[in-house]
């Protein structure tokens, strides 16, 4: 899912870091080499630019892939998907272009620095080699200690944070009942509670960053002071001492960058965790519906419990029952959009789950409860009519599914719907979700759900 090709271009970075420190130490200790330093600096900036460019391209590729996945994912809310596909996917940019390269450099650069220092000054190399692992160790110790505390607080935070959106969206209702003024105080109180709860969480959460910074800066002091003292005895040369001073912070810097990128990338990682599995495709050819029996066998899903139903080919069945009983769920099962938690849906003895969904749906004429594939400037009745006409246009369909067609229709439209479907279901298997008695005259059997 994530494009990682840009990480290969990071390989020159540790060499350039070493070269730059080396040349700077030479120049500062009066050994010359300014021209070469200029070349290395230009190279380093060039490599940085190349890395950013490739990182950006990798992020773009990843974003396109992610967006596709989110858009084709089933069973999600439209608002969520729209947010994920636009703003949500953005959060992946810091992960791909920032965090991943930082993680690679956090390994490459410190290793290179320690090796180089091993040749220049063993004491400094050992000091850094010992303190360096302390950074991730301390950070993860503090992290583990704080995780439980922060996790328990996040839920409370989310609830307090959500309140503002809830009252703002409900302001019409609050005003209608004369309760809007009273909420004005509540908004401030809850925001203040949210603020202090957040601060309690942050005080703990920032500790790991604190440890990181402290180890990094203290280690520079730990390296610089002894080297200075040994210089005093003439134990090391000025060039070596400067090299140690320049390289020591370079060993910790990538770790600190990775640490800060980790937080920036957390949101992107969360988005990546939400990536749904790819859409399954293929399957066996569906049986001929004009001769196949449809069986729902001990189906349990949503509000249905061990539900059984057998529909003969050409039979017309009406489903009735109170709202929420699972009538629309049965249509969803027959369409293949709802999969049973347990039990099976069989068509001519074949499990619908193994049937090629696209081929199956080509043989089904379906009119949904709330059609959406219609121009939005129509009234709900007109939309129903358009949806019905589209379903009825599937002349080779062997199964007709109709969901609560008369729920919002005036009698005129209702009569038209009845007339249209009556002709269409002749000779076809039909399952109708019915609220009105009129439709019940058209069927062979009424099933109470």
């Amino acid at each position: 899912m994530v494009d990682r090709r840009h990480l290969a271009a990071l390989i020159p970075v540790p060499f350039l870091v070493l070269a730059q420190a080396d040349l700077l130490a030479r120049v500062l200790s009066g050994a010359g080499g300014l021209a070469l330093l200029v070349v290395v600096v230009l190279l380093r900036v060039g490599v940085l630019w190349l890395n950013r460019f490739l990182g950006r391209r990798a992020a773009a590729t990843t974003k396109v892939r992610l967006r596709r996945r989110f858009l084709e994912a089933p069973g999600s809310r439209a608002g969520e998907v729209a947010t994920l596909a636009t703003k949500g996917v953005d959060a992946v940019e810091p992960y791909v272009a920032g965090y991943l390269p930082a993680m690679v450099l956090a390994v490459l650069v410190p290793v290179a620095v320690v090796i180089r220092l091993g040749f220049a000054d063993l004491t400094a190399a050992v000091t850094i080699a010992i303190t360096l692992p302390l950074v991730p160790v301390f950070a993860s110790l503090v992290g583990a200690h704080t995780r439980d505390r922060t996790l328990s607080q996040w839920d409370a935070l989310a609830a307090l944070g959500g309140h503002f959106l809830d009252v703002v969206k409900g302001i019409g209702t609050l005003r209608a009942f004369g309760r809007a003024e009273a909420q004005s105080v509540m908004v401030r109180q809850l925001a203040a509670q949210h603020a202090s709860a957040t601060m309690r969480t942050l005080r703990v959460a920032f500790l790991s960053a604190f440890v990181l910074e402290l180890v990094a800066t203290l280690s520079v002091a730990l390296v610089a002071v002894p080297v200075g003292l040994r210089l005093l005895d003439g134990g090391v040369s000025l060039y070596t001492a400067l090299l140690v001073l320049l390289l020591a912070p370079e060993a910790y810097l990538p770790l600190r960058t990775a640490g800060s990128q980790f937080h920036a990338a957390a949101e992107g990682k969360a988005v990546l965790d939400q990536v749904p599995a790819p859409r399954p495709s293929g399957g066996v050819t569906p049986p001929d519906l004009f001769v196949s029996e449809i069986v729902l066998e001990n189906v349990t899903v949503r509000s249905l419990r061990d539900f059984n139903l057998t529909i003969a080919p050409g039979e017309r069945v009406a489903l009735v029952g109170p709202s929420g009983a699972g009538k629309s769920t049965i249509l969803g099962l027959l369409l293949g959009f709802v999969r049973p938690d347990s039990g099976r849906v069989l068509v001519g003895g074949v499990d619908l789950a193994s049937v090629d969904q696209r081929e199956w749906l080509r043989r089904v004429a379906w009119m949904p409860q709330r059609p959406t594939l219609v121009p939005s400037d129509l009234s709900s009745g007109e939309r129903q009519q358009v949806a019905l006409n589209r379903a009825l246009a599937r002349e080779d369909a062997g199964l007709f599914l109709l969901d609560e067609p008369t729920a919002r229709l005036d009698p005129g439209t209702e009569a038209q719907v009845l007339r249209g479907s009556r002709e269409f279901i002749r000779g076809r298997t039909a399952v109708l979700v019915a609220h009105r008695p009129a439709l019940l005259d058209e069927v062979d059997r009424v099933v109470r759900v």
Binding site: E72, R77, A180, G228, L232, L246, W366
Partner: protein
């Protein structure tokens, strides 16, 4: 203002980092001259102290910055809510959601853009004053002012280019999700998905942060090399490099950052909302006595008419069907209508509408954890408890099965002592009313919007 604390603490943290580099360099260069030990004591103590101070100050900066921004948010939320309170019109749901996310965005902008920029400027000013070296001065002006401004301008241009593509992608996403099952059923899904993917690709080519960091680094090293060639001491050169380091992040503007944040008078946040309009009232006020049903074919403007009546009434006198369900308990949602209601009154309202939910059940965001029919009856229970002078209902029993719907409506009308206006489709219900108002088809009436 507490944000100033955060800025000052942040600047002190960064300055101790810069000073640590400079002092350590001075220490080493001086030690190479092999002076007596006593000449180095102060520097050694300073290096250790600065190393300790930096971490602590950074921690303090993070906390004070977040604290200041959160305090600001309390005031901002209160202010935004109050201004909504006094508007005549209630903006649409989308505009309100946008408003809330803008409030959050404003907090982020303060924390992630304003605070680091202010810290970097303060650090630069100190560095310029201490060093008095022209390459450093020119360089810091570039990395602190010129490059950040250029990157912000670049980001602004990209954002404009992206905005329409994003809106298009969001529309396509909503269409794909809402129409998903229908699109698949009618074999249109792959074509629509391919179209959305084309938008996503066009977007990906344009949306990336405006990142001038490589240029800023070039300035950093150019200044350092110039200082070297001018023979500036080593501690100053390395200190300068460290000071530049503080300003580097400013040259990158994420695309998501807010366009502008001028906390001026007349909050710009609210300017995204449509301005208040005064709607003229309906000409159907003779309806308002007894119990009236509004019937008519689909699309005749029945809901429009009901909304027009609701606008004419004092907010507390008419209870409109288009209601929000709050993410709290059933009890709190119903009590909204009459906060001092007794348990008896509550139970009576619940019985009238046949609401089969526990009082302490939490309903989820926008009532998504209960069924559509239960949500509908919860709103009806609230309306019953409110006992408004004028009862306005728009297809109140939609989603209930027919017999049940008739019983519930009958009980609600029996309970209503004042005027009731109800939009309905069920002819069977008309016997419950004193008057029936027929809305004609669209071309007979001057209907501005189809409900």
């Amino acid at each position: 203002m507490r944000i100033w604390h955060a800025i000052v603490i942040g600047a002190l943290a960064e300055l101790s980092g810069v000073a640590l580099t400079a002092t350590a360099t001075w220490l080493i260069v001086r030690a190479a001259e092999q002076p007596p030990m006593s000449a180095l004591t102060v520097a050694i103590v300073a290096v250790r102290a600065l190393a300790m101070a930096r971490g602590g100050l950074r921690y303090a900066e993070r906390l004070s910055g977040h604290s200041a921004v959160l305090r600001y948010a309390v005031e901002l939320r209160g202010r935004v809510y109050d201004s909504l309170l006094h508007r005549k019109d209630i903006p649409s749901g989308d505009a309100l959601t946008q408003l809330v996310s803008d409030v959050d965005e404003r907090q982020n902008f303060l924390l992630r853009t304003v605070l680091p920029a202010a810290v970097a400027v303060l650090v630069s000013m100190v560095a310029i004053a201490v060093a008095t070296s022209w390459p450093l001065t020119v360089g810091l002006v570039l990395t602190c002012v010129a490059l950040p401004l250029a990157s912000a301008a670049l980001a602004r241009r990209r954002r404009t280019a992206c905005a329409s593509l994003r809106a298009q992608l969001a529309d396509q996403a909503v269409h794909l999700v809402h129409g998903r099952e229908e699109l698949i059923a009618f074999d249109l899904f792959d074509a629509e998905l391919a179209q959305a993917e084309r938008t996503a690709k066009a977007l990906a080519r344009k949306e990336h942060p405006a990142d001038l960091t490589p240029l800023a680094m070039l300035v950093q090293f150019a200044a350092a090399l110039l200082m070297l060639s001018q023979g500036e001491p080593a501690w100053l050169v390395l200190g300068a490099i460290a000071a530049f380091e503080v300003t580097l992040p400013l040259s990158k503007t994420p695309l998501g950052a807010q366009k502008q944040a001028s906390p001026a008078k007349g909050d710009p946040l609210l300017s995204i909302l449509p301005s208040d309009t005064d709607n003229s009232g309906p000409d159907d006020c003779e309806l308002l006595n007894g119990r009236t049903a509004i019937v008519g074919p689909t699309g005749a403007g029945k809901t429009t008419m009901l909304n027009a009546i609701a606008r004419e009434l004092e907010p507390s006198k008419g209870a409109l069907a288009d209601a929000h369900v709050f993410h709290t308990t059933v009890r709190a949602n119903v009590l909204l209508a009459k906060p001092d209601a007794t348990q008896e009154e509550l139970d009576r309202a619940k019985a009238i509408v046949d609401l089969d939910l526990d009082w302490d059940r939490v309903v989820g965001e926008r009532g998504e954890e209960i069924s559509g029919g239960q949500r509908q009856r919860l709103i009806l229970a609230r309306t019953v408890l409110a006992d408004p002078d004028v009862l306005l209902l728009d297809e109140p029993t939609e989603g209930l099965d027919p017999q049940h719907a008739d019983t519930v409506l009958q009980r609600m009308l029996d309970n209503c002592k004042g005027t009731a206006v109800v939009v309905t489709h069920r002819m069977e219900q008309l016997r419950l009313f004193d008057h029936v108002h027929h809305r004609g088809p669209i071309d007979d009436q001057n209907v501005s919007r189809i409900g």
